[in-house]
């Protein structure tokens, strides 16, 4: 038996299902006997019912479709970015190989900075030698090859820095 009325904390605990056993029984007994507390419980019950009402949480009808489309777009964007990175790396490697092919004679000793570059990129002359022989077999002049790669690189930079930002802004 409770000496005082039920307080807010007890009522909330009861309605949340936190009261069990003896304390729940004492609570319910008091509620049966006290109209004032019954009224307080009833008010809380009404409030709880109100708190469970979905109000204006309305998203656009095509929300799910929009999200799926956006994630797909992002995914494609990251694949495109990856391909661009790969292209850039490959172009850089090929230009490097070609420059090496022209300016560093394989097997020839150089001095100073050239020497250290040559030692750092030891693999390049060998690779360049292989590619060079392939180019010769295919009868592609090295100068034109470098020119094509340089044009592609310039186009890549223009696309990345000018065209893509404009397209993004427009969309």
């Amino acid at each position: 038996m409770l000496a005082d009325h039920l307080n807010d904390e007890m009522i909330q605990d009861y309605l949340d299902g936190n009261l069990a056993g003896n304390s729940r029984a004492v609570f319910e007994q008091h509620a049966q006997e006290c109209s004032e507390c019954r009224e307080a419980i009833s008010m809380y019950r009404e409030m709880y019912a109100g708190l469970e009402i979905e109000s204006d949480f309305v998203l656009p009808k095509n929300f799910t479709r929009q999200v799926v489309r956006l994630t797909h777009k992002k995914q494609m964007g990251s694949i495109q970015f990856g391909l661009q990175q790969l292209f850039f790396a490959l172009a850089f490697l090929i230009v490097g190989i070609n420059i090496t092919l022209y300016y560093i004679e394989p097997g020839q000793a150089t001095t100073g900075v050239k020497d250290s570059i040559a030692s750092a990129f030891q693999f390049l002359p060998a690779l360049a030698g292989i590619l060079g022989s392939l180019f010769q077999q295919a009868q592609i002049p090295g100068f034109y090859f470098i020119a094509i790669i340089t044009i592609l690189l310039v186009l890549f930079v223009i696309d990345k820095l000018v065209l893509q930002p404009r397209f993004r802004h427009a969309s």
Binding site: E46, M47, E52
Partner: protein, 191 residues
Amino acid sequence: MSEEKTKIAVSKILRGDAGAFKEFVDNYKRLVAHIVFRMVKSSADRDDLCQEVFIKAYENLANFHFQSKVSTWLAKIAYNACLNYVEKKRIPLYEDSVSHDDAFGELPSISSSPIDVFEQDEATNRLMLEIGLLPVAYRTIVTLFHLDELSYGEIGNVMDMPAGTVKSYLFRARTMLRERMMQKYQKEELC
């Protein structure tokens, strides 16, 4: 959605199944909307933010290892996104931009209609307005507890606070709501 079904759905999404992701969004958009709509006032920004939450979830799904329920994880993303958004945009939080009297000024008076149903709707509207006037943390807790049925521990996980603090805030929020509603009705009875 059961835990096992959720795991299957997540693995499907990670394999690039757009249909599974669509289902995932449909299942959890209600939860995300509850949090975002309670924390952000601007309706245009709310939709964008809800989208952002799902995109973030999609991007980070591979790092989710089911240490918690998907709903808790997603609610945490939504809660943090709302906090970042409000901070970044310097948007006033809801309770800062709506004055108590203004909020009630928009409603018709209770005596304008004798119909009980209408009065019930009006009481609900008032309750919604009062929830909007609670501090952000309180109204988020009330929403997660009553609408999304998250436990004290889960809410604490979402909001980075102990379960005891969640319980205490929830108690204070509901007591505050009850007092404000009672005050309002008493005022109207006197008029």
